[in-house]
Amino acid sequence: MAKGSIVAGCLAPHPPHLVYAENPPQNEPNSEGGWEQLRWGYERLRDSLAKIDHDVLVILSPHWQTYVGTHFLGLSHFEGLSVDPIFPNLFRYSYDINIDVELSKAIHDKAADAGLAVKMMNNPDFRVDYGTITTGHMVNPAFDKPLVVISSNRSRHYYSVEVMQEMMMELGRATRDAILESGKKAVVLASNSLSHRHFTTESDVPEDMSREHIASHAMHLWDMRIIDYMRTGQAQRIIDEMPEFTEQAIAESDGGGLTWLLSTLTVPDYPAILHGYGTIIGTGNAIVEWPCYAHEEV
């Protein structure tokens, strides 16, 4: 069997607002658009990924939160209605997704070998989290490629950002090893925003862009700092500054997705492509691609 590879790694945040703004047939609510900068960013990411041959999308979403170990969707098919508990007015989405159970199980096994607590999720009634669905939709609205869906272990909350990073570095290595052994070409996606301070009010018209801006200057500075590291091939500095970033920017990277992503890419020292940046009710969101295919042996 040919050696598998990670062809691209992406930071692909999951604000349901982007799906809402697009008015896809799967989503019930209707909008007059909004957040175009970010949606154009996703368009560029989609175009970019369309040019890279790949078999599977591997997603880690901070909205499947597990406190006891890291879990993997373990059945080949899930369908249902995903309603965002925070923004049910924006996101009520009928999903129908396929899972690459073989690869999920392979990552699960590698992670178990590395000493991580892991579990397969085999309950057919399980509702797939809206972070996974949103990122999945924005990257591949047809959902015509299978996914691997990994839960976000909340070790940050139980211990510290440092412990979270250790575990996520390990999980990243397990993910990479399993992909390489699988013979498959994978895109890995961390479904998280950057700075994560929300507004606590919503406009009557949620897509009123005259109300949208970063929550504070400090959040902006943090976002730009992290993006700069991404664009200049300094992923290690992101890992190094993750404790401060996560605390000070209340960043959604606390869910481990970004650390895991960088680990699957062996902490890249080549520049990432910034496809877009914008804010969603005050939070900072960047759509970023590490074009591994151009830098690694694929």
């Binding site: 499947w64 939160q65 597990t66 406190y67 006891v68 170990g69 879990h71 249902g80 209605l81 309603v83 508990p85 925070i86 923004f87 049910p88 007015n89 009520r92 607590a117 579990k119 999720m121 085999n122 309950n123 009634d125 399980f126 509702r127 989290d129 839960s151 909340r154 070790s155 909350h157 139980y158 301070r197 929300h198 507004f199 606590t200 009010t201 919503e202 801006h213 929550a215 504070s216 005050g282």
Partner: protein, 464 residues
């Protein structure tokens, strides 16, 4: 004082007592306690069960479930292998809508949610399935706002009590919450379950001891400490006790009973019954500011500018104005601001003249020189304390003159400042230029608020 809360319960959030009580004796004891609570509720006259759930976080204020019949199948994010939880609840939509409105009128962000497939959280599902299995009593569920602090959470309860009072309904209040919430991070056998650490266990027992003594408000006041000691920062802090205590008029003399306390995958799970009947022990002092309406900082991150010109043009925010009370010995004048209650500007007793508290409001226009201290929405405004103090002294001079007295004859002054740190120096400067010249005794106090949006008021005694 309300008597609309018939009983309160604290219940745990994890699904084990619902799905697999037989796997562990402690889980079974929690289940038995749920069943006991269920029977007590069934025997009560409750018109509605109100659930405040810590496993339903919200960001845009509080959310209130308002789907008349939410129906779905819930699978726990961690414990999916224990089985699925089908639910179909009966929601008191009229109550939910009224509570939402009451929240707004008390200054809270709030909205109702009524969407097919809305993911009702595990804490609410476990609570309602076990406490009210046949939906005999309609329910209301409210979220836990991740940003809300004590003031917001207290006002949320008061708005709820407003509605109970208005609708004449009796309620059972339930908080779905863990005590200590640190679970094991490795997979354990059901038979190996225990409280994660001795420290967590000791704190849980202390909190439960308080609750068993009916000291709900004491637990509420310890919320932040309890959070720091035995809570892992998940989404929300140990805030449900703020809500539950306010639902019970912040009392410490309830009749409490711990029906069960056991481990749930390391976390502390307790079923507690709080009966509003006084246990006869003395109630304790309520040591934090009480809050009636929420005027908090929730919009500090929003750049929307406050239109100060509007606020300045309408200094009338505050209580209604009265004509000064007439009466023998009363001294009233058109050239002093109208009272905010039924009292005269001053009163003569022998050769002494007692003035009612005098502020800076201008007679006639009611404007506040130096500007009001807050706008109509309660948001703070910049103001000039010296201007305000000067206006107070001028008002005092006019009342004294009307009574045939004058500034030289002032004997004693009590001054009230709403912000001692900010304003004392400016106020003191004007004092020295004016009344201070004449040598009356003086006492200056810091107080929380005055009835109108002013920063200073003086109470004067003078000779005639």
């Amino acid at each position: 004082m309300n008597d609309s809360i018939l009983a309160s319960y604290v219940v745990p959030v994890h699904p084990h007592p619902l799905l697999v009580p037989e796997q562990n004796e402690g889980w079974q004891r929690l289940r038995d306690a749920f069943d006991e609570a269920r029977d007590q509720i069934a025997a009560s006259d409750a018109d509605v069960i109100i659930v405040y759930s810590t496993t339903w976080p919200s960001i845009i204020g509080h959310q209130i479930q308002a789907d008349p019949n939410p129906t779905w199948t819930l699978v726990d994010q961690d414990f999916h292998d224990l089985g699925s939880m089908d639910y179909s609840f009966r929601i008191d939509v009229e109550f939910a809508e009224a509570w939402n409105k009451a929240n707004h009128s008390r200054g809270l962000q709030s909205r109702t949610v009524a969407y097919n497939g809305f993911p009702i959280d595990v804490g609410s599902v476990v609570a309602l399935k076990l406490l009210n299995p046949d939906n005999r009593i309609p329910a209301v569920i409210v979220s836990s706002n991740v940003y809300a602090n004590r003031a917001e959470t207290t006002v949320l309860a008061k708005a709820c009590l407003d509605v109970l009072g208005k609708m004449g309904k009796k309620a059972v209040a339930v908080t779905a919450m863990s005590m200590s919430n640190r679970m094991f991070t490795e997979f354990i056998e059901a038979s190996d379950d225990k409280i994660h650490s001795l420290k967590d266990d000791e704190w849980n027992r202390k909190v439960l001891e308080f609750l068993e003594e009916g000291r709900l408000e004491d637990v509420a006041q310890l919320s932040r400490t309890i959070h720091q000691q035995i809570r892992v920062q998940k989404v929300v802090t140990f805030k449900p006790m703020w809500w539950l205590s306010a639902m019970n008029n912040n009392r410490n003399d309830l009749t409490g009973k711990v029906l069960a306390y056991e481990a749930l995958y390391g976390a502390g799970g307790a079923v507690v019954h709080l009966d509003p009947t006084s246990n006869g022990k003395g109630d304790k002092e309520y040591d934090e500011d009480d809050v009636e309406t929420y005027q908090g900082e929730r919009n500090v991150l929003d750049s929307e500018e406050t239109d100060t010109s509007v606020a300045e043009a309408s200094p009338n925010t505050g209580p209604a104005l009265w004509n000064p009370a007439e009466g023998e010995d009363a001294v009233n004048t058109e050239s002093a601001p109208k009272p905010v209650g039924l009292y005269p500007h001053a009163r003569r007793v022998g050769d002494l003249l007692y003035l009612s508290g005098v502020g800076p409001r201008q007679p006639g226009t009611n404007a506040i020189p130096g500007g009001p201290i807050r706008d109509g929405n309660g948001s703070p405004l910049e103001y000039d304390i010296k201007e305000q103090t000067r206006a107070v002294v001028e008002n005092i001079a006019r009342i004294l003159e009307e009574a045939g007295s004058s500034m030289e004859k002032v004997v004693d002054v009590t001054s009230f400042l709403v912000d001692m740190d900010r304003d004392f120096a400016g106020y003191n400067e004007v004092w020295a230029e004016t009344l201070g010249h004449y040598g009356p005794t003086r006492t200056t106090l810091a107080i929380r608020a005055l009835p109108t949006p002013i920063a200073v008021e003086m109470k004067v005694i003078a000779k005639i």
